[in-house]
């Protein structure tokens, strides 16, 4: 260091002037965010309430069974009256695509909406810190006083209460998650009779521990250092994206307010620091857009309340785009933004695919697999035989009786494929032999159609395969 200091050409202080503005939160200071009421706070509660589906959803019944059940052992997803088998899993990829693009679209319009209002990390952290604030004090001063206080029975029991509540929430989170994959009521029965499976137990324990650790202790550190979405979402901003921003032009020069002061000669910011105090990740929004900002808007609520007290208009901190703040440019409507249009189109495509999938779910899955070794067999009477493995999956809820036939090949005889009864959710592989006399074949590759007729039903089963023979 001395070497550098002695070099007159390098002014270290200049070099680090910008950097010194950054406060890098490495987790050694516990953030105790002040809680203020306001529009965005209400919005956050609303966003958070979506998660009640996680806790309540598994208990909804439909036709005597769990309405939504992701039944992994049976390899089927039951969603109300629809049953989705692995064969229909392409719909899941479209669903994932839909939500991935939705994340991108929303982010490009209004920033990290997911982080601020829906993300399980920020939502659970919000609940945990709310409990902590109620028990240990909801301002940094009260919290510090509590932690410095001597270890009395009272402090111990308050600590135990906090950790107990945290663990209880974690436990419910784990149980609720597992309840989507197994019958929810049975799960509670098993839990109370100590018969729950080891897998379920491990998952519940991991969720309890994970929630306790991440929401109780890691908190904003997850957003800063662990979360890939936080890094990913930043790149989806452009200059038209509206974000909670500090209007520096209006706010600066900031100064503490004196009684009866006229704001026309100075900046609107009274340097009360309440925007920093309410921030759940502990950043100062007045330093501009930064990685720690989860765009929850709580600083907007806080600043507006101060503006009210100082008789100034709202919006010193507000949702505004870069162009609006720096170029006074008007807001570009959504339909004129290329990014939004493209995202919208992909969303529409994915959505129509999902809708198509759900409305066109086939009640059966029919596959005819041509034997590869050998492709054909010459029989003693000179006819050619092809062997097929026929697989029919019954996706209906009833046993079906199927009669098979072949079409498209003159003189072909079907052997070994008798009428079949197939139980719901079952697939039975059966060998079918098709024989044609050599004289009736005019090509070495002829399309052949396997058809199944389901008794007392309109279900149509059809599969196009090939009949192969030696070169003529």
């Amino acid at each position: 260091m001395s070497e550098v200091k002695n070099n007159p050409n390098i002014n270290i202080d200049d070099l680090y002037e910008d950097v010194s503005e950054w406060r890098i939160n490495t987790g050694d200071i516990k953030i105790v965010a002040k809680r203020l009421p306001g529009g965005f706070r209400t919005l956050k509660w609303l966003g958070m309430s979506v998660w009640s589906i996680l806790f309540l959803g598994p208990y909804i019944r439909f036709n005597g069974a769990q309405a939504v059940l992701f039944d992994l052992p049976q390899r089927q997803f039951n969603i109300f009256h629809v049953t989705i088998y692995p064969q229909d899993i392409w719909m899941l990829s479209l669903t994932l695509l839909f939500f991935a693009i939705l994340l991108a679209a929303v982010t490009s319009i209004a920033g990290r909406v997911f982080c601020g209002y829906f993300c399980f990390q920020t939502v659970w952290t919000d609940i945990y810190t709310w409990i902590e604030g109620k028990i240990e004090g909801n301002t940094p001063q009260k919290a510090l006083k509590f932690s410095k206080a001597p270890w009395t029975i009272n402090k111990l029991s308050l600590k135990a209460l906090k950790h107990g509540l945290w663990l209880l929430i974690g436990l419910f989170t784990g149980i609720s998650f597992v309840a989507w994959f197994t019958d929810a009521y049975q799960l509670w029965d098993d839990l109370f009779s100590f018969q729950v499976s080891l897998t379920a137990l491990i998952i519940i324990a991991s969720f309890t521990g994970g929630t306790y650790l991440f929401a109780g202790f890691m908190r904003e550190q997850v957003c800063f250092w662990l979360c890939p979405y936080a890094r990913l979402q930043g790149v989806m901003y452009d200059q038209d994206t509206v974000l909670p921003s500090y209007d520096a032009e209006r706010g600066e020069p900031r100064a503490r307010v004196k009684k009866g002061e006229d704001f026309s000669t100075r900046g609107s910011c009274v340097d009360c620091n309440v925007c920093v105090a309410v921030c759940p990740t502990g950043i100062d929004i007045r330093k501009g857009q930064q990685e720690g900002c989860i765009t929850c808007g709580l600083c907007i609520d806080a600043c507006d309340s101060i503006m009210d007290k100082t008789n100034q208009p709202h919006g010193l901190i507000r949702y505004a785009s870069y162009k609006e703040l720096h170029h006074n440019a008007p807001v570009v409507p959504l339909y004129k933004r290329f990014r939004v249009i493209i995202y919208g189109l992909i969303l529409l495509l994915a959505l129509s695919g999902i809708v198509y999938g759900f409305t066109h779910l086939s009640p059966t899955e029919f596959k005819v697999i041509h034997e590869r070794q050998p492709l054909f067999v010459l029989l003693s009477d000179g006819s050619i035989q092809n062997k097929y493995t026929v697989k029919l999956l019954n996706k209906t809820k009833n046993t079906i009786k199927v009669h098979f036939d072949i079409e498209g090949l003159e003189g072909a005889i079907l052997h070994g494929l008798d009428d079949m009864e197939i139980e719901p959710g079952k697939v039975v592989p059966v060998t079918a032999l098709v024989r044609v006399h050599r004289d009736q074949l005019d090509a070495d590759l002829i399309p052949i159609v396997f058809i199944g007729k389901v008794e007392n039903s309109t279900i149509a089963i059809r599969y196009e395969s090939m009949f192969m023979s030696p070169k003529q």
Binding site: V4, I29, Q373, V377, L378, L379, Q385
Partner: protein, 319 residues
């Protein structure tokens, strides 16, 4: 340290400078440091529990006594334990009983693929159809030299098969050979050839191939009237078979057609049971100490042969 965070210039550095950029000595995030220490701890625990340090002759054993080969053996034992009830059940069933039981049939077919690949596919091909012109019997068609019922297939596997046709090079005149070749081709195509048939009978071919030239199952002789050729339908190849025979030790050019014996023991047992049934006796009452002397060779177990018989029967040509 935390109070220095807003003033990076006041933090100590490591003394490393590149183009005026100093490497500061800021602390790592605490959770990251803890994770680092924890992973170090895990390494130590791992070294104690598992084989780790290489010594002169072998590595340290570790407290758990874990080895790769043991894990493999345990997994193999698990698979075998899963199969055991099926194999036990299979051992007590006849091949016909297996064919009638869909579950056992699926198990027999499923577990025979590797068995067939290891022991049979070298000649008969992986799907039961040998390479064209290779001279091995096709197991997927409906033409069987020794019979195509599952019992007969079981017997063929257990006993092994060796075809037999004398070389006729010294016994027939060339024009007689030509005539017989034409007769064979005509028979396969369903064309009547009176002169050929007369020669066929005169030269004693009927003794093995039968008066109708359709072959005799007990001898394993080829059916000359169907579309399937034991070796080849090519005229030169038919001539070769007639001239040099099959498995005729006196002729160096003879065709070699040998199916090895896979279980002498099973073939003796199957034969004894067949005789007992033919004599109207109960095959379960046979006193095996009379029939077997304990020296019978077994290349494959009885259960494996049963599985293979069922597997071959299901290729599509079983009767």
């Amino acid at each position: 340290m935390a109070e220095n965070k807003n003033k990076p210039t006041q933090v100590g550095d490591t003394g490393h400078v590149w183009d005026g950029i100093r490497e500061l000595d800021n602390p790592c995030p605490r959770w990251w440091l803890n994770a680092l220490y924890l992973s170090g701890l895990i390494v130590v625990v791992y070294f104690v529990l598992y084989p780790s340090l290489p010594l002169v002759h072998e590595s340290t054993k570790g407290l758990l006594g874990w080895t790769q080969i043991n894990e493999y053996k345990e997994d193999l034992a698990k698979v075998e334990a899963k199969r055991a009830p099926f194999d036990d059940k299979l051992a007590a069933m006849s091949v016909n009983e297996i064919l009638a039981d869909q579950d056992m049939l699926n198990y027999a077919i499923g577990s025979s693929k590797v068995l067939f690949g290891d022991n049979c596919a070298a000649c008969h091909g992986t799907g039961g159809a040998p390479a064209a012109g290779a001279g091995y019997p096709n197991l997927t068609d409906d033409d069987w030299l020794y019979g195509g019922t599952v019992d007969e297939i079981e017997m063929s596997i257990a006993k092994g098969r060796q075809g037999n046709m004398p070389a006729h090079e010294k016994l027939l005149k060339p024009e007689e050979v030509d005539q017989l070749v034409k007769f064979a081709v005509d028979s396969s195509n369903g064309v009547t050839n009176e002169a050929g048939l007369a020669l066929f009978n005169a030269k004693g071919c009927f003794a093995c191939h039968g008066a109708d030239a359709k072959g005799i199952k007990a001898m394993g002789s080829a059916n000359l009237t169907d579309k399937i050729w034991r070796f080849s339908g090519d005229e030169d190849q038919i001539r070769h078979t007639i001239l040099h025979g099959v498995n005729d030790a006196s002729d160096k050019l003879t065709r070699v057609a040998v199916m090895p014996q896979w279980s002498q023991k099973l073939s003796v047992m199957l034969q004894a049971r067949a005789y007992a049934i033919a004599d109207g006796e109960d095959p379960d009452e046979i006193d095996w100490t009379d029939e077997l002397d304990g020296t019978e060779a077994e290349r494959l177990s009885e259960t494996d042969i049963k599985k293979l018989a069922v597997y071959v029967h299901q290729f599509g040509g079983g009767q």
